[in-house]
């Protein structure tokens, strides 16, 4: 077998293309949001009031911090400080967990207040139903990406522990980090669209 050539730029290029498809996937949802916002401005305003800004803002801070820790983890690895890198990655995953727990409480309070698909609360008016429908679909899709992103980072930790991802060959971690930034970025758009809309 011939020596495996590494194409660092090629890997990066592929990752960027993939991120692009993710943006398009959310793009379809944002498109729906834009159209419905145009159709039901009053209900979207009303719906936004029902969401807890405190929860939303807390989660925003959590995610931005986690993007920061990932970025630090990458430079730590590049400088050969493996332990620090692993610790920072672990911190990122913990933050992802915090985000999800937060989300869990948020969703369950909503559901306890009778806001869930098919509930009479949501059936009040078409616009309200759509606002919360989009809220569940879009934050749900994003939550799924948080879980996937955390899994990717955990996989990077494993590879670093095995010595397969190193100070010289850090492409995998960098790409994992890019993915995490995307997850963060999507939230940066979701937060104002749902929580600050009113």
């Amino acid at each position: 077998m011939p020596e495996q050539h590494k194409d660092y730029l090629g890997d990066k290029f592929g990752m960027w293309l993939f991120l692009f498809t993710e943006i398009l996937l959310f793009g379809g949802l944002f498109l729906l949001y834009a159209i419905f916002l145009h159709r039901y401005p009053a209900e979207f305003h009303q719906g936004g009031l029902e969401l807890s800004r405190v929860f939303g803002a807390a989660n925003t801070v959590v995610l931005i911090t986690s993007s920061f820790t990932v970025a630090l983890a990458i430079s730590a690895l590049q400088q050969g400080r493996r332990g620090l890198c692993q610790a920072l990655l672990a911190a990122t995953i913990v933050l992802a967990g915090v985000f999800m727990v937060n989300k869990y409480f948020e969703w369950s309070t909503k559901i306890a207040h009778g806001i869930y698909p098919g509930s009479s609360e949501m059936a009040q008016s078409g616009g309200t139903n759509i606002f919360f429908g989009l809220y569940y679909v879009m934050t749900g899709a994003h939550g799924l990406h948080v879980v996937i992103g955390a899994t990717v980072l955990a996989f990077c930790m494993l590879r670093i522990a095995q010595g397969r991802v190193t100070a010289e060959d850090f492409g995998l971690l960098e790409n994992g980090g890019l993915y995490w930034h995307l997850v963060d970025l999507v939230w940066i758009f979701l937060f104002p669209l749902f929580y600050l809309i009113s």
Binding site: G10, F13, F18, T21, E22, I35, N129, I130
Partner: protein, 539 residues
């Protein structure tokens, strides 16, 4: 001394690595391409059998061999299989995988493991699609378009089918991503953009469409799934939603998808025509650029599927105009192919015959597309057999014949054997004859008002339906002849040399079949892909 990998043909096992696992876990682009090829041909066979059964049902008015519900399931499955499992992966995943690295002088694609992963996704999607027939509340009956609100309400197994489509979309995206990266990063140093074979250009344009359009389909079918599960109502007017939005999202993918289907076939034809006219391609740049132009303009025309859906007149006008614009780059290609043939020294071998079949049938499909693209006439023929005839001319006459052309062109390269050319020629006559007999009457009964997706019809349409059904038998005879001609020689010895057609692209400089490992070092000399001076035939 060269390693066995550099001498053993890729179809044969390497020492110590044989059997099924050396195929289904292979990361060799050639083997992966072959896996796709077998799957795709199997799916084609399934689709054809269903198609022929539908035609049989339609030979007489009223119930003939199946009832309404079965017929609904049949056309849904026929559409899903043909679109998502046959034509979309067809040429790019099978021939693209085998040939792309060879044509640009690369060792493999950029991400070989992702490549086999894509195939596994394809297989999973195919299995799920077939499973959806036998489980849940019965086979899906929505048509391959899964239009809401019916797709949300029907009790048949739509949920599983859309999951299958989602996974297939993912597979398609990853293949596109792989190809774009490969073309950017792994061309041989001397393989400049201006020297890329036109097949590679077409794969490049296709890959961009796969990458940009498929995620939207993914999210759309995911929404159908969520709606079925939770009933949120984003597309349900009773709950504040809007079914038109589904149609927009669906066609934002599915119109560009027709270019995922046709553009690679155009690339195949662009490679074949000059090789059998012994003449450099006319308008290389125009053909290369028109692929990209089709990809771009094709992304802006989706709503021509919705002229009767009740969207605004302004939108109808704009989309109608844009649809006419896409016809331009397609016509540019056709003119360039014909100009290449003009005064060429023509060798009428089977690949060229199929390429000519492509030009003829695709032109017929394309020109009738203009009838559908202008809103005024579309109102009359929307959802009639006119549409069924149109898209079969384009995707079957176009992409299908393009695939057949590719098979006859590269078969000797892949297998190192030459098929029975007499049978190949005979099958061509049967296929073209049967094809026109099968689909041409559909234009006429469509104009008379025969609606599509019905198992029953008024007696006035019967003549057309009978001719069409008989045509389907001729067509099947043609298919059987063709595959028989191809497979007959598979047991014989490998006698074909490197370059039986005297073509000038890089893959013809390799042995037939190519060894497991090719272009470990990029080639020193990169030929101009369509200059035949000094290219010797090596049969």
């Amino acid at each position: 001394m060269p390693s066995p990998g550099e001498t053993v043909p890729f179809l044969d096992p390497l020492p110590g690595r044989s059997g099924l696992t050396s195929w289904i876990f292979s990361t060799d682009h050639k083997r992966i391409g072959m896996l796709y090829l077998w799957c795709i041909l199997t799916m084609f066979a399934v689709g054809v059998v269903i198609g022929v059964l539908m035609r049989l049902e339609l030979i007489a008015p009223g119930r003939t061999i199946m009832g309404a519900q079965t017929y609904n399931a049949m056309f849904t499955l026929h559409g899903v299989v043909m679109i998502f499992l046959f034509v979309i992966p067809g040429i790019p995943a099978a021939f693209g995988n085998i040939l792309l690295p060879l044509q640009i002088g690369a060792e493999d694609v950029s991400f070989p493991r992702l490549n086999i992963f894509s195939w596994w996704l394809y297989l999973t999607g195919a299995v799920l699609a077939v499973t959806s027939l036998f489980t849940g509340g019965g086979p899906p009956d929505t048509g391959w378009t899964f239009y809401v609100p019916f797709s949300e309400r029907t009790t048949t197994n739509v949920s599983l089918a859309v999951v299958a489509v989602f996974i297939l979309g993912f597979s398609s995206i990853l293949t596109g991503l792989n190809f774009i990266t490969t073309i950017h990063r792994l061309r041989a140093p001397k393989m400049s953009w201006g020297k890329l074979p036109l097949f590679v250009w077409s794969l490049y344009a296709t890959a961009w469409i796969q990458l940009l359009a498929t995620p939207v389909l993914g999210v759309t079918v995911a929404l159908v799934f969520i709606e079925r599960l939770l009933g949120i109502g984003l597309f349900d007017p009773a709950k504040g939603g809007d079914p038109l939005l589904y149609q927009h999202l669906f066609w934002i993918y599915s119109h560009p998808a027709v270019y995922i289907m046709i553009v690679p076939a155009m690339g195949v034809v662009s490679d074949i025509i000059p090789a059998f006219a012994r003449k450099s391609i006319f308008g290389y740049k125009a053909i290369a650029v028109s692929s990209l132009a089709i990809a771009f303009a094709g992304s802006l025309v989706w709503a021509h599927h919705m002229f009767t859906s009740g969207m605004s007149d302004t939108a109808v006008l704009v989309f109608s105009f844009l649809t006419f614009v896409v016809a331009i780059p397609s016509a540019v290609k056709v003119f360039n192919w014909v100009a290449t043939l003009y005064k060429g020294s023509i060798h009428l071998e089977p690949p060229l015959l199929f390429a000519l079949g492509f030009i003829f049938l695709f032109s017929a499909g394309g020109l009738t597309g203009l009838v559908l693209g202008s809103a005024g006439t579309d109102i009359h023929v929307h959802d009639t057999y006119f549409v069924v005839a149109h898209f079969h001319y384009v995707i079957f006459g176009g992409t299908g014949f393009g695939l057949f052309a590719a098979m006859h062109f590269w078969f000797p390269k892949i297998f190192g054997r030459m098929y029975d050319r007499k049978l190949a020629n005979a099958s061509w006559y049967l296929l073209v004859g049967g094809f026109n007999m099968l689909y041409f009457p559909m234009f006429l009964i469509g104009l008379m008002g025969m609606p599509r997706r019905y198992y029953d019809y008024l007696p006035m349409y019967q003549t057309g339906h009978i001719i069409s059904t008989v045509g389907s038998w001729v067509l099947v005879a043609g298919l059987v002849t063709m595959f028989w001609g191809l497979s007959k020689c598979l047991r014989g010895p490998r006698t074909v040399g490197r370059n039986p057609w005297g073509a000038a692209t890089l893959e013809w400089t390799l042995p037939s079949p190519p060894p497991h490992l090719t272009f470990l070092d990029p080639p020193d000399e990169v030929p101009s892909p369509y200059s035949y001076a000094g290219v010797k035939r090596d049969a």
